[in-house]
Symmetry: C2
Subunit: 210 residues, 2 copies
Amino acid sequence: MDNKKNISMAVIRRLPKYQRYLGYLTEKGVERISSKELGENMGFTASQIRQDLNNFGDFGQQGYGYNVKDLYRELSSILGMDRNYKVVIIGAGNIGQALANYTRFEKLNFHLCGIFDVNPKIIGLKIRDVEIKDIDEMVGFFKDNPIDIGIIFTTSASAQKVSDILVNNQVKAILNFAPIDLNVPADIIVQNVHLSDSLLTLSCLLNQNS
Amino acid sequence: MDNKKNISMAVIRRLPKYQRYLGYLTEKGVERISSKELGENMGFTASQIRQDLNNFGDFGQQGYGYNVKDLYRELSSILGMDRNYKVVIIGAGNIGQALANYTRFEKLNFHLCGIFDVNPKIIGLKIRDVEIKDIDEMVGFFKDNPIDIGIIFTTSASAQKVSDILVNNQVKAILNFAPIDLNVPADIIVQNVHLSDSLLTLSCLLNQNS
DNA sequence: TAGATTGTTAATCGATTAACAATC
DNA sequence: TAGATTGTTAATCGATTAACAATC
């Protein structure tokens, strides 16, 4: 099955926000909501919400709106939250270790299966029952442990090399925290989180404002 | 001076990437580069690069292109990198502490002046010479220490409250890692880094692909 | 001067918003 | 049935790309 309507990234990026808010409404016990009300609460137009959702199906009902619990479930499913993903982290410095410890992680069905680093001082340490292994053991590890997602916290210098190893070992998606643009085949999914870019954007806006 | 051409976020988000690449070229000793070449190397169109840069000035020269070192300096200045920013971190959990330790931080002229948390177990600890203080001391602290940027790593539940305190104490910009949308006056700059949204986007794309 | 490449205007493309017939 | 609100088509807005005169 190929649900390829070629949905734009702009739409996909809004889905987690919808899902989160619908989750909040579910907890509050709200039963139904219209696109108008949802839009007002979330700061979107009703039109945009209807357009966005209709990329994935007809979840609403004329004259009624959307059933909160159902829509929440649908969104969770679209976001792949009823699946389970196997994850490795490469680079266990400050931020790598912090994210390895991130408990919200497991709640989103991301199962941490391996941590790799080059630093002999930390190899062997355990984070949440997962041992930090030497990066040289990575290829061997992948033989026995098929992995869905690799999260890169290495230096920029190593990131491309690590990315190549991931790609060559059937990893399908990469979350990249190293401040470079990775070169990967077209069928590999990459999301970048460039912290220093966010800081610089902020500093740029501050600078503009004065 | 009001350099308000109302430059779009799409443009501003590309500036750190330009600056980073120009820095790399400077190090490599490259002296000049055309928008065409730059575009090919970075995966943008030459047209877009010229449009983007011309929002800020005429940095190029017909028939020659751009002087790498000069453009690098200009971009650094536009990004506010020749200024110094005073920063506080609120929420010193895993990720908050990791970022407090982040050395790249200082390189970008972000000077960490304070860390605050509610957890009595970690209050008093020092991270890079900065003591973690009780969040209740925050208002008093701001009296003597004017701060430019607040970075929020608290839970979603506390984030809005913290944001309000920042805003009421002349903090001008907020980097928000809590997965909620903050409510702030129009003149306050907010950048969101929603890690779980990035993870969900990735998982959504993986899900779409199969 | 001739060639190269800019800055900028015009054309295109895509995303958002508005409008409205369909229908619960 | 009448009112509400959807799904969807059409209009608008903004961002990207193409084109080209200006000029180094």
